[in-house]
């Protein structure tokens, strides 16, 4: 049994732990073994084996003492964007070289307080900027998935590609991710896993290295919808240390999963049916709608008229905030500092340090952001983008007010692409990957990516459900119905 413990879902592991059939130590060891066998995936960038086993032992003691929560003893991976006390946390960036925080992010400290076990840090795109986990100081993450009959290395998506790959390859039972423009949902869709981005303000951002503050939100990446519900319950909650965290009670998300979605109104936004949307994706979408209809939901066409402006709006606001958030990385206080020549002044230090420390995509977005905020351009770009953001939010408010309970869309325009393909695309092509996901970040809404089937060449595809603010329970229930109807059980064939 030990060999397959790492393949358990959180829900199953919880039940086995509660019954005493397995120990957290065995579960954890099984994950650690899987991690050490999976270096080819480059999903885990720091393994904290000693810490994991120690935490597993205390979890076992806690379970014995009858003091367990649903997450007690569950081994997790943590995206490198989360500060974990005493563990290198550098947002996959050279500029934070060796940075080891003396503090713990609120989300991870909640997870540890619930008894979850820290396995290690997971790869990602530098500072969360990217859609392929290729822009990382640790190198690219390789998806456990391969197209049928192909040995081409594929992306696990990004920016939470390490988290997605680790969950898909059973290196952990669940992982934390963050989602600024789709960084949880897109990698989940690429790897046949479940990725939930909660309502903005549901999880504290304190201790998560910031990319774009008004869009960033942490969420769970898991094997099942139920697991996402369980894990979100342990991550969420008001935090006085984050002014944007909402003082709203955290319901029992798992209890919301009843399987009954009869009478729910599901919207299909016509603006998401893009020109050139692949037949495979379009079919998935139609199939998904049919599944929800069969489960008793009412499926209706809706309009979100400002959708086409979402991507450009996102690529003004996110870089603007990023350019400011990342200005603290200056070589003065921590992380990388460039070697200076004789006579170099403070500006030389900044320029050299940031040129060496930031990768190309981060540099591109920092410059883009500085540009849209600069005098003379602010009104034309940033202010206008904020206005459009309000309109996009208004689109959603209107359909929800009209009685729509959730919105069904594709999660990505295509299945996972080959590693290295991003380098050949121009940045705008790359940014198109986020076309279905960014809208809800702009509106602050919860969204979930659910695996719905395989492409013709055997790669996972995902559908996205967008929910009402603070209604993650309802969203998870609809997602669970979709998950059940889709019956996705495929696993990546082990090649690593």
């Amino acid at each position: 049994m030990t060999m397959t413990l790492n393949a358990l879902t959180i829900a199953d592991a919880r039940d086995l732990l509660a019954k005493g059939d397995v120990t957290s130590r065995d579960l954890t060891q099984s994950c650690l073994d899987a991690i050490s066998d999976a270096s080819a995936l480059n999903a885990v960038v720091t393994t904290t084996a000693d810490m994991a086993l120690e935490m597993a032992d205390s979890a076992d003691a806690r379970i014995k003492a009858g003091d367990a929560t649903a997450m007690t003893g569950i081994p997790l991976g943590v995206k490198d964007l989360f500060c974990v006390e005493g563990v290198r946390s550098q947002a996959a960036s050279k500029i934070l070289d060796g940075f080891t925080p003396r503090y713990e992010s609120t989300v991870t400290s909640k997870l540890w307080a619930s008894g979850a076990v820290m396995l290690g840090k997971l790869n990602m795109d530098e500072f969360g900027m990217g859609s392929a986990t290729e822009y990382s100081v640790y190198g690219s993450t390789v998806s456990p998935w391969r197209a049928t009959g192909s040995e081409t290395k594929l992306t696990a998506g990004g920016s939470s590609g390490g988290s997605a790959a680790a969950v898909a390859a059973d290196l952990c039972l669940g992982a934390t991710g963050t989602d600024t423009g789709g960084s949880i949902r897109q990698p989940a869709a690429f790897t046949g896993t479940v990725g939930l981005r909660p309502t903005y303000g549901r999880c504290s951002r304190w201790g998560i290295i910031a990319y774009a503050s008004s869009l960033d939100q942490a969420g769970p990446m898991t094997k099942t919808v139920r697991d996402a519900a369980i894990m979100l319950g342990a991550m969420a909650g008001h935090d006085a240390k984050d002014s944007t965290s909402a003082d709203i009670a955290v319901p029992d998300f798992e209890a919301a999963i009843t399987g009954d979605i009869r009478g729910k109104k599901i919207g299909i936004p016509r603006e998401y049916r893009l020109d050139g949307l692949s037949d495979a994706i379009a079919k998935q979408w139609d199939d998904g709608a049919a599944m929800l209809r069969d489960a008793g939901a009412e499926v209706v066409d809706i309009s979100l008229p400002h959708t086409k402006y979402a991507l450009p709006t996102y690529y003004v606001i996110a870089p603007a905030e990023a350019s400011s958030n990342l200005s603290r990385y200056d070589g003065v206080k921590y992380g990388h500092r460039a070697k200076l020549g004789a006579g170099d002044g403070i500006d030389d230090m900044y320029e050299k340090t940031r040129a060496e420390g930031f990768g190309t995509e981060v540099q591109r977005r920092v410059m883009l952001g500085a540009y849209v905020l600069s005098a003379g351009f602010y009104d034309a770009y940033y202010r206008k983008a904020q206005r459009v953001r309000t309109l996009i939010k208004g689109d959603f408010e209107k359909v929800f007010a009209d009685g729509i309970d959730a919105i069904l869309t594709p999660a990505t325009p295509s299945p996972a692409f080959a590693l290295g393909a991003a380098a050949e695309m121009n940045p705008v092509e790359m940014y198109l990957n986020d076309v279905f996901t960014v809208t809800l970040n702009l509106a602050g809404l919860p969204g979930i990516s659910v695996p719905s089937g395989l492409s013709a060449d055997g790669l996972p595809l995902g559908l996205q459900l967008i929910g009402k603010p603070w209604e993650e329970g309802d969203l998870l229930n609809t997602a669970a119905a979709l998950e059940k109807a889709a019956g996705f059980t495929a696993k990546a064939a082990r090649w690593w």
């Binding site: 989360f82 500060c83 946390s89 947002a91 934070l96 940075f99 925080p101 503090y103 992010s105 951002r205 304190w206 201790g207 998560i208 290295i209 910031a210 774009a212 503050s213 008004s214 006085a240 240390k241 984050d242 002014s243 944007t244 603007a320 905030e321 350019s323 400011s324 990342l326 200005s327 603290r328 200056d330 003065v332 206080k333 921590y334 403070i346 500006d347 900044y350 500085a370 905020l373 600069s374 005098a375 602010y378 940033y382």
Partner: protein, 506 residues
């Protein structure tokens, strides 16, 4: 209560070679909010702590750290706004001002550009009794202070102290209503006084807790009035900003220098470059720090880590209800209630502590007399010895006791000064000292008569002279005072001397 009325001071005129010039001045005063903790962190604001000992994670710009507004600083800003009769904006917002500097660990300063917490208000700048100008305040916003870069500790390295980083500042921005160097200094003095009354800033300029950026331009007479009528700045000259002034004297000197510099350029046919300048107090001149072209692009935008700052009208009302009496009201009340001069009222109200001290002395006593004793004897002595009122060896109760003894006729004004001296050096209860040391003045006419008789009998020649020239009676009074050790009631002595010498009262 009658209002004191003020006439506006004349603008300062600079006579140039081509005619007269006037000044237009606006100030941006940075006042450190009196608060134990910083604007967005719980770190202490204590001055003079070990370098980098008062630094929270967010102050140091650590990854993932977030600001949380200190509600007390918000209340202090509201209190200040109310004190300047300003509009309080129930919704305001924080913006980021982005620039790189090692003492700015976040890479941006959190400030309020677009939506300040306090809107328009005013300050009465009273120059001398009856002369004063109401200067309009444009806005007050809350912002973070930066840290301190230290460049002179090592030949190759610079050091950074983050203790001040993130400390709350109020930036108080005036309209360009100030018309001379003295007025500018008085404006800062008055603002400082109000802030100290309110307890929202300690006004310590030496520690940098209050500092001013001064905008100066020059124009021809008549131009300012056109600006006033239209609020159109094109009627005014190009301004230069004098950065970071931390003394009223320097403010005055720098403006004066800057006015003359600008006039000289203009009269030479040149034009003024809008720029930021620094005043060098040792050389007594301003020099260019950066031109408009070199000005930073701060890329302001709303801080996404903070929600709009919303305060309730209830909170504003509650703060308003607890506002202390401010200098203008207090000065007016002192003039009307105690009948003192506006000048004396200004002296007594310059600090809330001195006003409180005075009121304790004046309580149930003659106000004018109390004012005289507080200003002339006590303040005079404190100033001379360089002692703060809070350290005064003579308490309000003791000074009140001295005044009571005078009013009861127990001691003369002269003895009272001796008594003051004794209490200043030795302390003690005034009445007890007078009793114990036999300082009570003699009002027993029998005893005085006996003393007068002694002097008259002993000086027959003087008696004759005095009878011829009544003015010489004063000599007898002096002799009697001397022989009684100054304790005889001088009025009684005078009367008895005149009667005994046969001089009629006239």
């Amino acid at each position: 209560m009658t209002e004191l009325t003020y006439t506006e001071p004349k603008p300062k005129i600079y006579a140039g070679a081509t005619g007269d010039w006037e000044l237009v001045i606006g100030l941006e005063v940075h006042a450190q909010v009196a608060s134990k903790a910083k604007l967005f962190s719980g770190a202490s604001t204590t001055f003079g702590a070990e370098p980098n000992s008062n630094v929270a994670l967010v102050d140091a710009g650590m990854p993932g750290m977030l600001p949380v507004i200190n509600q007390f600083c918000v209340e202090q800003a509201i209190r200040t706004g109310l004190g300047l009769k300003a509009q309080i904006n129930l919704t305001s917002a924080f913006d980021r001002k982005n620039y790189f500097y090692p003492d700015l660990p976040q890479g941006y300063q959190i400030s309020q550009l677009y939506h300040p917490i306090v809107g328009e208000g005013e300050i009465l700048v009273d120059m001398t009794p009856g002369i004063g100008r109401t200067v309009r305040v444009e806005r007050i916003h809350l912002e973070q202070d930066a840290g301190k870069s230290i460049h002179d500790m090592d030949p190759t390295m610079s050091f950074v102290d983050l203790n001040r980083t993130g400390v709350a500042l109020m930036e108080i921005v005036s309209k360009p209503d100030i018309r001379g160097p003295e007025e500018a200094a008085e404006y800062v003095r008055k603002l400082r006084q109000i802030l100290r009354y309110l307890g929202t800033c300690d006004g310590n300029m030496q520690n940098g807790n209050m500092r001013a950026d001064v905008n100066v331009s020059v124009c021809r007479p008549g131009q300012y009035e056109k600006y006033q009528a239209t609020q159109d700045f094109s009627h005014l000259g190009t301004r230069c900003e004098l950065k970071n002034m931390n003394s009223m004297r320097f403010i005055q000197q720098a403006i004066d220098f800057e006015a003359k510099r600008q006039i000289a350029i203009l009269e030479d046919g040149g034009s003024i470059d809008q720029e930021t300048r620094l005043y060098d107090p040792t050389k007594g001149e301003t020099r260019s720090m950066r031109s408009k072209e070199e000005a930073h692009d701060y890329r302001y935008f709303p801080d996404p880590d903070l929600l709009p700052l919303v305060v309730s009208q209830d909170l504003v009302d509650e703060i308003a209800a607890r506002q202390p009496e401010l200098p203008d009201e207090k000065r007016t009340r002192f003039v009307t209630a105690f009948g003192m001069t506006e000048y004396d009222a200004s002296v007594l109200t310059s600090e809330v502590e001195s006003a409180n001290y005075f009121e304790a002395v004046a309580e149930g006593r003659d106000g004018k007399m109390a004012a005289n004793w507080v200003i002339n004897e006590l303040f005079g002595r404190l100033n001379k010895e360089g002692i703060a009122l809070s350290e005064s060896p003579v308490s309000a109760a003791q000074l009140g006791g001295i005044i009571d003894l005078i009013c009861n006729g127990d001691i003369s004004g002269k003895i009272a000064k001796d008594l003051f001296e004794i209490i200043w050096t030795e302390g003690g209860e005034p009445a007890d000292i007078v009793e114990a040391r036999g300082m009570k003045q003699v009002t027993d006419t029998g005893a005085i008569e006996a003393a007068v008789d002694d002097v008259i009998n002993g000086n027959p020649a003087q008696v004759e002279k005095a009878k011829a020239n009544p003015k010489l009676a004063g000599w007898f009074v002096g002799q009697v005072m001397k022989s009684t050790g100054g304790k005889a009631n001088p009025q009684a002595v005078q009367a008895i001397v005149r009667t005994k010498l046969g001089l009629e009262e006239d």
